[in-house]
């Protein structure tokens, strides 16, 4: 894995040197520990990214993979429903609302019809942060809601919140 930030660099170095984290100065130690917690919450979790725009998929995938996540994708609603019902390892769904044909609301409702998927966290992504969107999304079965364009830190924060156990 590459090194993208000072935190990661420190973490990797500490790991490489087999240093005990407790030996480090408190501030650094805390930083590494926090990084570990967030990293551990996301790492190796399988996330389904649903978007009709491959550019969005590619961009989200870039961020998610960078945080150690396992990304699977769907280009439309039906594909997403199929993937969720066939792949029990999917831990979370990132759902674009504005899709041609079967949109995000329909897709979420379809997913929630399956009793096995009732508890699956679905984070809805909508281009317009319009009043009532949030209620509409939650009504359709979304667990949470993010406005486009997606801010990376917000996205990661929401993911951690839902994936942390």
């Amino acid at each position: 894995k590459g090194v993208e930030s000072p935190e990661r660099l420190l973490d990797e170095t500490a790991l490489f040197l087999h240093r005990v984290n407790a030996d480090q100065p408190p501030a650094k130690s805390q930083m590494v520990q926090l990084l570990h917690e967030s990293y551990e919450a996301l790492r190796d979790k399988r996330v389904l990214v649903v978007d009709d725009d491959v550019r969005n998929i590619f961009a989200l995938s870039s961020v998610l993979e960078r945080h150690g996540m396992d990304v699977v994708t769907a280009g439309n609603g039906q594909e997403a429903v199929d993937k969720v019902s066939n792949d029990r390892d999917i831990a979370l769904v990132l759902m674009d609302i504005m899709m041609p044909g079967m949109d995000g609301y329909d897709t979420m409702r379809a997913i929630r019809e399956d009793p096995d998927s009732r508890a699956l966290p679905i984070v809805a992504l909508t281009a317009k942060a319009m009043k009532g969107d949030r209620e509409k999304c939650l009504e359709a079965g979304a667990s949470d809601y993010l406005a486009k364009p997606v801010v990376t830190d917000q996205l990661l924060g929401v993911l951690r919140q839902w994936l942390h156990r």
Binding site: G2, D53, I57, F58, E65, D70, V71, T73, N76
Partner: protein, 583 residues
Amino acid sequence: MAASLTSDAPRPVPVPAQAPVNILLVDDQPGRLLTYRAILEPLGERLVEAASGEQALKLLMEDEFAVILLDVNMPGMDGFETASLIHQHPRFEKTPIIFVTAVNVGDMDRLRGYKLGAVDYVSVPVIPEILRTKVTVLAELYRKRRELQLANERLATANLALQMEKAQQLQALNASLREANDALAARNAELQREIAERANAEDRLRVADRRKDEFLATLAHELRNPLAPLLNALNIRRLSAPDVEDPLQGMMERQLALLVRLIDDLLDVARITRGKLILRKDMTTLQDVLHSAMETAGPLIESGKHRLHMQLPPQPVAMHADHARLSQVFANLLNNAAKYSDAGSCIEVVGRIEGAFVSVGVRDTGIGLAKEHLEHIFDLFSQADTAIERARGGLGIGLTLVRHLVEMHDGRVSVHSDGPGLGSEFRIDLPVHSGLEIHSRVDVQAAYIAGAFEGKRRALVVDDNRDAADTLAMMLDLMGLQTRRLYGSSGVEDEVSAFAPDVIFLDVGMPGMNGYDLARALRSGGTARRSPLLVAVTGWGQPEDRRRTSDAGFDHHLVKPPELDAIHAICASLTDHGEDLAR
């Protein structure tokens, strides 16, 4: 949209290092795609086409690519935007992109392209050789990297396996080490226990050994007590009938003398093993020593009808030695020779000067010694262990004494025998004294005449052993003294006042008031007008014992059984003593 975009594909798949690599061709114009394919086909790599940036992204999500050939001018998402997206993705940030541009690229655009991570540019019309060369280089680079990655992965796997193997080995080693350690600790504890046990046993042995020595000393001492009256009785018989030749008298005297000698040996050994024997060295000669030894051993040699051949240097051999102890050494050897030889055998004594030493050999033709007995013959209580030899008697201490006494004289003793039945020879080497002051010992045999001190002197005998008291008193009677006897310490002082003895023979070890206390009382009491001579009669004869009696006020010290000579000498001195007083 049938193709699913998945990131599962680029997981490390075992790809042969030389397998074709994927090359992504991105252009909105089918004609150009055809041209690229024509140019790159000969390289033998796998060519994948995309008609737009979006399609390119989709393909990238499905597979790994070594090189991306990317048209800059495309409708919608252009080459720069596509490149920018591609290089943001962690999996493709290092994937080389060659931009293809139809128009002349300005320096600014070129810079923008490089910033986005492009490695190169080609312009249309494409020159086939140049494009082919560039792609070849990049494909090769990718291949190398893939190889390296594979090698790294193999290495990592091997490393992991090795680490696990090592860890297992280490664990096994540790376990066996721990086992060995435990075993060692157990063995150590066992050894420690053994050592403690051994030390304990040694202590017990030492205690037992000391008890044995003490027992021997006590035994010898206690055996002496009953000997005293016996010897006294024999002396009385001889004194009362000096002219009658009684064979029983001679036999009893000889046997008693032997008994005394055996007990003396026992005492000596006990003293030697406790380091309490003290030599009284003086000037003497080998001849004198051997003469005394022959006097002692004579009876046994004669009774065995042995012939004794003695061959000594003609000149007296001077020695600084304890005459009595050295005589005892040779007497022991002569006695042994006589005892262990058949009647009428020959015993040879040969003395030779060898430098600063005189070497004396005592050789017999007797029962001899087996090899295994030779080395132990000088050990305490060691005897050749056969019924025949047992029958000849002895305590097995004579030779121990011999060795100790010789060694105390800075000499050596050795033994040689050709085997059982072939006789034996004991050799004693002793240092010769180079001095000249030699004086021959002359034994003055005092004549004991019955009634020599007729009626003149009074003697009191005190001993709780009635036989001892009676016989000593009878002996003194026969010598002509007036005697009285007491069988205990009570009433002694009254008797002394009433009888006024000239001499008192006091047994030291009596119940109640012992000899020491009695002597002190008599000396300090002043009950007698004149002080009687005090004679201690005791089984203890060491210098220390003598000092004790002397400190208590005794004038003489007689060791049981008291010898006739000594008693006579004391009585004789009494006469002088008395005459002095009379004057």
